[in-house]
């Protein structure tokens, strides 16, 4: 009894952990898209907003990247699916002795690292371009063309695997029956084999598109001077990200969900249609519902309504009162910071008293430098520390900057602000801000006269 309950508990716990592992990162990332914080984070939560979606739409590089990714995805589908189909058909036709060899050859692009594929694609088409004496702006040097061709080399192998799996369940007698009834080979292919392969073609197309959309290894080489979503994202991550990336992720997840729902609805309609057809064939009295166009399907309408309602709510709650909320959060932070600073100042006074006592031989300037040094190190990794000290003399602007912490390394506003501080109070601030401002000229000029120690 108790053992059973423990077992249940363990199972539930395991399932919960499993799903947390699967969806935890997605959920956290989804939430960060709606936080006003300039760095993608959930805690502390500032204000609910949808502004990151606007930021996303205004990011021209990202939008171009998405457009290119879509374009390449479609191109890869159009290229890889027919190649995969042809490869699968050929593999099924040739003799059993040759088959394993050919199979290995056609599958090998999957085993070759994407990087190698990318580089070799680049080199190969460059040679071809040279052979034809092509211009720099010709197709042989076009990033989108090269990426389509490069990705298709291994994605068509994926497609081929899907087709082989389907073809293995095909009864070759069906083809013979069609031929026997007078169909040409083309007709047999079109009327018998192709309808049989239709589901596999769908799967292969989806898989090819997704594989292309998320590919980075090959693309980074073949894309040359253009960019795709993945390359843009990669460069963004390198230079620091903001929650518009999360907004993008949320959009992609949402679109995937929409696609899945539409697919599910259409599949259910199909089975329902088949079942009612069967009933009719059996001569049963059934009210055959007239086939509604897809857009008036109740399930679909429900889905659209829910989505519209959800989006509406999100939008309004995201725009109304965001500014007020931001101000409120800012004030709250300032108050908090003030408290911290007061505490810190007390601490400092105490510490300098200790310093002067223990190092009576050294002059005051030196001792201050030492103190600064240690402080600097300590607080490098604690943003809270950083904030506390900058905000001491804060005018309106500073707290916000402070919370942004090291993100704002490259924001010029940040660099300027310390210079407006009083020299006396400044020393510890500069120390804690440490390496952030090392390269700011204002910083140097302030420091040198104040402390006579040119670092």
């Amino acid at each position: 009894m108790i053992q059973g309950r423990i077992q249940n508990f363990l199972v539930i716990g395991f399932v919960a952990l499993f799903f947390a592992y699967l969806f935890g990162p997605l959920i956290v990332m989804g939430l960060t898209a709606f936080n006003t914080s300039g760095f993608p984070r959930v805690s502390p939560w500032d204000c609910f907003t949808v502004e990151w979606f606007d930021v996303l739409m205004q990011d021209a590089r990202l939008v171009t990247g998405v457009r290119n990714s879509l374009l390449i995805g479609i191109g890869v589908v159009l290229l890889a699916v027919p190649i995969g189909l042809a490869g699968a058909l050929m593999l099924m036709q040739i003799g059993p002795r040759l088959r394993p060899w050919l199979y290995t050859v056609t599958i090998s692009p999957i085993l070759v690292p994407g990087v190698v594929l990318g580089i070799s694609t680049l080199l190969f088409w460059d040679r071809i371009g040279l052979m034809f004496g092509a211009e720099e702006d010709s197709i042989f040097y076009d990033g989108i063309f090269l990426t389509i061709v490069g990705q298709a080399t291994f994605i068509s192998a994926y497609a081929m695997l899907i087709f082989i799996a389907r073809l293995q369940r095909f009864d070759p007698a069906l083809e013979e029956a069609a031929l026997d009834l007078g169909a040409s080979h083309t007709q047999t292919f079109r009327k018998i084999l192709l309808p049989f392969l239709r589901p596999a073609i769908g799967s292969a197309a989806v898989l090819a598109f997704l594989a292309s959309f998320e590919n980075y290894n090959t693309t980074i080489f073949t894309i040359v001077s253009s960019s795709t979503l993945t390359t843009v994202l990669a460069s963004k991550v390198r230079y620091g990200i903001d929650p518009s990336i999360s907004a993008l992720a949320v959009s992609i997840v949402f679109l995937t969900l929409v696609g899945a729902v539409i697919f599910e609805i259409s599949k259910r309609r199909e089975t329902r249609r088949a079942r009612s057809q069967m009933a009719v064939a059996r001569g049963e009295e059934t009210k055959v519902r007239k086939q509604r166009p897809f857009l008036t399907e109740p399930a679909f309408i429900m889905f659209v309504l829910i989505v519209v309602a959800g989006l509406g709510t999100v939008y309004f709650s995201g725009t109304v009162g965001v500014e007020e909320c931001k101000i409120a959060v800012k004030e709250q932070r300032q108050a908090e910071i003030k408290r911290k600073i007061e505490r810190r100042q007390q601490q400092q006074m105490f510490q300098s008293a200790v310093d002067t006592q223990s190092q009576s031989s050294s002059d005051q300037e030196d001792s201050k430098v030492t103190a600064k040094g240690t402080e600097g190190y300590q607080s490098v990794f604690s943003p809270g520390n950083l904030q506390g000290e900058i905000e001491t003399q804060a005018e309106e602007e500073q707290p916000v900057k402070g919370t942004e912490g090291y993100q704002s390394v490259f924001s010029p506003g940040n660099l300027v602000s310390p210079s407006s501080d009083e020299p006396e109070e400044e020393k510890p601030v500069k120390g804690t801000e440490g390496y952030q401002n090392v390269f700011a000229p204002e910083n140097l000029s302030n420091q040198v006269p104040a402390e006579n120690s040119g670092n």
């Binding site: 009864d171 007698a173 069906l174 013979e176 029956a177 069609a178 031929l179 026997d180 009834l181 007078g182 169909a183 040409s184 007709q187 009327k191 018998i192 309808p195 049989f196 088949a274 057809q277 069967m278 009719v280 064939a281 059996r282």
Partner: protein, 367 residues
């Protein structure tokens, strides 16, 4: 419209394996011709050579007097009904039936009309909109026939079309097939391993063993005058006595067997002539074996009944020959004057020399 089919010295090889050796057949236009043989003897292979899915390694196939070499299956005047039917699972019944018209570009209205006619013929009226998976085995069978007939072939090839059906349906479909054949009047080449089917339906039967045609004849001749030991053992039931020829007179031979001297008639086939000293088999049908109660017949021996089956119209009696313990089977019609012989010992049994046939020893059908 019907065409005759000729196979001339056809050999079919798969690597070292020979699936057909020197097959010569002449199938007349409009006849119901059956190829009968055990599973794996090369029947399907032969049919595929006729329908064009397979090119003979040697020899030629002629349909309507025309050599079919180099002519693909879609341009031959044949239609094949596959062993597994091979109905198109993604099409409705009527689309299946009229597929041959669809590939010719016949308009839909016309196709539907033709489908309705054929559905009438196969006794499935109004079922055209069903999918294949919704039909029973017998219905699928008939759809396959309709689909083949819709192509208006001159020769219809049927590869064990009834093997998947249960006994009752099989017997029903036999008469059905025969009547369809007589109505449409085209040549049927029918393949089966079931001798009952072969004998009931066919104008002519070819018996096949390991790629060799052993005998071609009408059903009664196959049954009564087998040319080889294989045919005798494969078609119908037969009691077999092995022995040596001691004496041959014009159409009869004397054979010495462990069960005693047996006199039996010789085969008319020149290949099956026997001479003194040959190792031979004597075949006697169960229905030729009799209790002889004093009457004199050519061949007599004593036997005990060890098992008996009563089938209403027939008695099946299983006997031990007293001298050698060899087991034989006897069957006779229940004409009302019959009593059970169960457990009786050393009864005189016998058969006339006309009812027994002497054939040279050779391969036999698997029991």
């Amino acid at each position: 419209m019907s065409a005759d089919v000729k196979l001339e010295s056809v050999w079919i090889r798969f690597g070292d394996f020979i699936a057909a050796r020197d097959v010569n057949l002449h199938i007349k236009g409009g006849e119901f011709f059956t190829i009968l043989g055990p599973s794996g003897c090369g029947k399907t292979t032969l049919l595929r050579a006729v329908s064009g899915f397979l090119t003979p390694s040697e020899g030629s196939v002629l349909i309507g007097g025309e050599n079919m070499a180099g002519i693909g299956p879609n341009r031959r005047p044949t239609a094949l009904i596959f062993q597994n039917l091979a109905l198109f699972p993604l099409m409705t019944i009527w689309e299946n039936i009229t597929f041959s018209l669809e590939v010719k570009g016949v308009r839909k209205a016309q196709r539907k009309k033709r489908a309705d006619e054929l559905l009438e013929l196969i006794a499935l009226p109004g079922q055209g909109e069903k999918m294949v998976s919704e039909l029973s085995g017998g219905q699928k069978q008939r759809v396959a026939i309709a689909r083949a007939l819709c192509a208006q072939p001159e020769v219809l090839l049927l590869d064990e079309p009834l093997s998947a059906l249960d006994l009752k349906l099989r017997q029903h479909m036999r008469t059905e097939l025969r009547s369809i054949q007589q109505r449409v009047g085209i040549t049927f080449i029918y393949i089966t391993h079931d001798q009952g089917e072969a004998l009931t339906m066919s104008d002519h039967v070819a018996v096949m063993r390991e790629g060799i045609i052993e005998q071609v004849s009408d059903g009664t001749t196959i049954y009564d005058e087998p040319d080889t030991a294989f045919v005798a053992s494969f078609v119908g039931e037969n009691n077999r006595f092995a022995g040596k020829v001691t004496n041959v007179t014009d159409s009869f031979a004397q054979v010495s067997t462990p069960e005693g001297l047996i006199r039996a008639r010789c085969s008319k086939s020149p290949e099956s002539k026997v001479k003194t000293g040959d190792d031979v088999y004597v075949f006697v049908r169960p229905e030729s074996l009799r209790f002889v109660s004093g009457r004199l017949v050519d061949n007599q021996m004593k036997a005990s009944v060890y098992h008996e089956e009563f089938e209403g119209n027939m008695w099946q009696v299983f006997l031990d020959i007293s001298s050698t313990r060899k087991r034989v089977k006897m069957s006779y019609v229940n004409d009302g004057s019959i009593r059970s012989h169960s457990g009786e010992k050393d009864l005189p049994v016998g058969f006339s020399s006309e009812a027994a046939i002497v054939l040279p020893q050779g391969p036999l059908a698997a029991e």
